[in-house]
Symmetry: C2
């Protein structure tokens, strides 16, 4: 019998499949069980990924002693309940981003993580992209000099394709639209690169989508370091995934062709990182080591479930990312006036 870490998928939609392929590219973890309310979906998922078991209820899955960790890809507004049940059942928990829909839910999840002492990972995989790792290194070793500005955009065409059958159509289920689905990635990336954000000014607009959610959002972030950040997220155009850093010694421009996002092991091949040094006319391409963000985070999670690794993105990092989204939404309500991230965290009693 294999000694791989036995994981179970909860929620069997498109994203569960992307992560299942990430698990299968690794050699330390395996998919052992799965659950969705739909029996057809369970059967299809088992066949597609060779998963030996399924459960007909969440309780049944969590009662299975064979399951060491769960991978949650259910809608954002269900995260709190599913995560809480899984942690209380003694399972290690990986949840897709965002950690939760609301900061209230996130505060409850943080309390359960701390009470149970369980292993808890949030899928802020994007920080593991090769370009992000290299940018972080260049910042930390001083190659960039002082960073005054960073710009990030994560957009795609989702808003043009949404139908009332999908939860992302509804403002009550997807507050902020692309901000909470895409922007939360960059909210983590940018804080990973430059430290905590202090305040956010933002505007959100609904322009071309038929859904309830906004499809054009822009935010200005003020970092505790003093640097300024821009975060743009749209749902009404072809895909974009970019980060640009402006330092006193160098600029770095990172560009990933979003159409290759789902296949993380190939993403580096469709990415470029370009530097421009102070006083130089020519730009230089920067070599990107190969990474596989989905495989790596799920292997780390699996090993952590056995106490053999530490999870990189834990509850506080994930809350910081979600807090930027909700601070942006609040700033939009206040016509763009800067809102302190801390003010929203303290409202729900979160101390980081």
């Amino acid at each position: 019998m294999s000694d791989k870490v036995r994981l179970a998928s909860i929620g069997l939609g498109r994203w569960a499949r992307v992560l299942a392929r990430g698990v299968q590219r690794g050699d330390k973890t395996e998919l052992y069980s799965c659950f969705s309310r739909s029996e057809d979906k369970r059967a299809a998922f088992m066949e597609e990924y060779g998963v030996p078991k399924s459960a007909s209820s969440l309780d049944e899955l969590l009662a299975d002693d064979g399951v060491e960790g769960v991978i949650i890809t259910t809608p954002n507004d269900t995260h709190r309940e599913v995560i809480t049940s899984a942690l209380e059942a003694g399972k290690a928990v990986y949840t897709d981003k965002p950690i939760a829909q609301t900061l209230e839910d996130a505060a409850a999840i943080k309390a359960v993580v701390e009470k149970t002492g369980g292993v808890f990972a949030v899928g802020h995989s994007a920080r593991r992209l090769s370009g992000n790792r290299v940018m972080k290194q260049w910042i930390d070793d001083g190659t960039l000099g002082g960073v005054s500005m960073v710009e990030a955009n994560f957009s795609n065409e989702r808003g043009l394709e949404l139908t009332p059958e999908t939860w992302r159509w509804y403002l009550s289920k997807t507050p902020g639209g692309p901000l909470i689905q895409l922007g939360v990635h960059h909210a983590d990336n940018l804080q990973y690169l430059l430290g905590p954000v202090k305040a956010v000014s933002a505007h959100t607009r609904k322009l071309f989508t038929n859904a309830e959610v906004p499809d054009a959002t822009m935010a200005i972030l003020e970092f505790e370091s003093g640097a300024l950040g821009y975060l743009g997220c749209g749902w009404a155009s072809p895909g974009i995934y970019q980060i640009r850093l402006q330092g006193t010694k160098q600029n770095l421009m990172y560009d990933l062709d979003f159409t290759h996002w789902d296949e993380a092991h190939e993403a580096d091949e469709y990415s470029s990182l370009v530097s421009q040094a102070y006083g130089q006319q020519e730009r230089s391409p920067v070599e990107l080591p190969h990474t596989d963000m989905f495989r790596e985070q799920l292997e780390e999670f699996g090993l952590a479930a056995r106490g053999e690794a530490t999870v990189e993105v834990q509850v506080d990092d994930a809350i910081r990312a979600l807090a930027i989204v909700h601070t942006a939404i609040e700033s939009n309500r206040q016509n763009g006036a800067a809102v302190e991230v801390e003010s929203l965290l303290s409202e729900v009693g979160i101390t980081i």
Copy 2:
């Protein structure tokens, strides 16, 4: 004797030289006279560009019947006085951007332009770059579909090199720092592309420069069309000149290597415009016809001085661009809250 339009340069610093080379690349205009308070500068400029005459005072230059038009590159806070004198002397006037330092000055200039009926051009040359012209065409002919977001950045290392001997060091002479010197270009470009801006949310910070001015500025623009725009301008990094448009059918990404900015006739060679179409995995480079923004705008101005052409960027366009800068500065005072452009214009009695 040549029948070229006889122009005179007022203010003989670095930018006068860039424009002088633009004049000399053309075949319809010539530099006929020049003025700076420094006799040494006048002598050097005459020799360097083969200018036959100079004047030892502004009045002397403006009294010269041989001068058909003047090219003003003096500091922003002198524009109002020099422009007013030149228009009242019956000369056609080209002034470098911004039209003036303050909206009060701009209102006074607009009144003089309307009173004298003189030819008046403002050097918002950047809209003439090949990439901007192609982007405008793709918007107007529907190729992009509906545009929800546009991002623009114009930055350079100026703030790291300023000394107290230069007027750009001082906040009183360069309010907004890179916003008024660089951002005003994109303020024109973006309104050229997407129409008037209604409101601005902005933050400005002073981080790495020793000068009084900010060196990191970010603004979110709300267009009357509903689209959102981002404008980033820094003075603490290597140069950047970029515009990105997000449309429902296409994205367009324009990137000009700023280190080649001054030599406008070569700028297209160091530029790229790339499109990404909805549903397509591959991006496509877009061909950029050759342009020479400085030559073209000065030829247009020269011909307009003789009634043989119409100036593209007149007083109202230039005021709209300056108004975005000052609305951004006002928004920063209000901690990023959106400020209506119209509110600043009406304060100084400008109706556009």
